[in-house]
Amino acid sequence: MTEEIINVNGLTKIYSGGVLAVDHISFKVYEGEIFALLGPNGAGKSTTIGMLNTSLKPTEGEAVIAGYSVKDEPSKVRSIIGVVPQEFSADEDLTGWENITLIGYLYGLPKEVVKQRAIELLQTVGLYNVKDKKVETYSGGMRRRLEISMGLINRPKVLFLDEPTLGLDVQTRAAIWEYILRLKKDYNMTIFLTTHYLEEADAYGDRVAIIDHGKILVIGKPDELKRSVTWDTISIEITGSYDSVKQVLSTLPQVKEVNFIDGQIMIKVVDGPTAIPGVVSAINSVGQEVKRLSLNRPSLDEVYMYYTGKSMRDESMSKEEAFALRRTLRRARS
């Protein structure tokens, strides 16, 4: 977990129209972690992932993946990474089997290895029994599973997942994540992820980076980030009057703020779970009883709002992007 596998330094992309999509970003990703990149549409997520997976050339700066430079040794980088694009990329006219083996051959793997790995991967993602059906007959969840298995045929060190659950329903999303986590464990990979779903980054991401207007605003563990911008809230109902406990609560070290709203005492605290015992015993110490207590911890949404100043917003995109997104969503829901 301490060995760095991706090292990004001053990476910048200016498109030919003069649009500054990514503005001198720097960060490190460590071996074995799930690193989630969050940001609104047009924030630079896809451009960043595009430069890291070598499909886009950086204008400035450098990124090194497992010791290989994306600028100078792109084909070496390509052979050690796996990419699951946001768009469905499998050829619809071919079968699942034909698609995954084709990608295997593009990595220069021998025939027997490709076949053996394809069988193994398709079994893991539960597509082995439909492998000889054309991809156009697959559902959205099946397509996404196929894309993920295609991204793993070369046993990559780093897997890039660009919006892996876009457009899927909640149950399918959970199932996809189950597959991702299982494969991550089986193959001991590092995962670089972009997502729209904050709860996914929160639940699965070891570290999260928030990007907006091409700049990284903050990087950290989800819990740390949440703690850094806002406090947990303990809501308490007590038997006696509010005034009797206000004084004693305010003096507790973890308590930041005490308010009385709608018959409830709302206490903002640092690290809720460890603060609760102190709060309860303080109330008991002045002869009051706790009738009801609940703890509300902030989600990553609050963190996101705090740094980007907006909730997940929708921005205008190019005609091609819109076409690709519509297509992906349409197929995902089929």
Partner: protein
Amino acid sequence: MSYKRLSPLHGLWALTNRELKKWYKEPVILLLSLVQPILWIGIFGKAMNFANMFQSASLEIPGLTIPKQIIDEIGSLVLKQTFGTTDYFSFLAVGMLSFIVLFTSMSSGMTIVWDRRLGFLGKLLTTPVPRGSIIVSKVIASIVKSLVQATIILLIGVLLGLRFSFGIIAPVAFLLTYLSLFLLSFGFSSLFLMLALRSTRWETQMAIMNLLNMPLLFSSNSFYPISSMPWWLKPVALANPLTYANAVSRWALLGITPSASLLLSLTYLVTFAVTFTALGITLSWRYLSL
């Protein structure tokens, strides 16, 4: 997986195979693309019957009766001098071989536009397959398609009355014909792929194809010999690779003496193919990206 050096040709066959699979799994599209040249041979070739026009009847000019035999003789001579043969149908049918090759090769550019649009190209670019292989696989697939289509047209031509009059022993004649069609397809496939490298709109690609197909066809010797063209069209026809492919195949299959020498024709076709393929591969390294 750690990095190991890959052969520069790895993945080429897998990609070519993909293109061909997509093609032969859709026989309807294959058959539809044959309709146009068949109609040209079947309708135009049969109706535009120069032999009939020149040889059908005797002429009655007042005070002078020319016997049919003489008319026929003169007609044959005129045809022979114009087309190099008295059999216009065969002349046109062989010309249609390069026509189908041109049309099939032109559509190679469309496949790259669709691959880009449908996300497949994006995925391809993240794999270590050489950029040149992406282009070359499409060129090879396009050549295979073109030659198969040309063979079907040739067979239909024979069924409709194409008569061979080989300029050289038959196996060599066919070999030369296929060689010239191969080179023609090589060059045109690379050219149209090159034009499509950066294109994101299939409409643009369609427009380019529609803009160029008829002018390329009619500024060649596919329908009529260069000698009958107006002076300003001749240089265009002489620059048009179709002219040389037709010249070679008409000489080989029909024994028609080409206006340019055989060697020159083949050299021209080789240069055409090599230039555009080299250009296509070079440009793909630089410009084939998302």
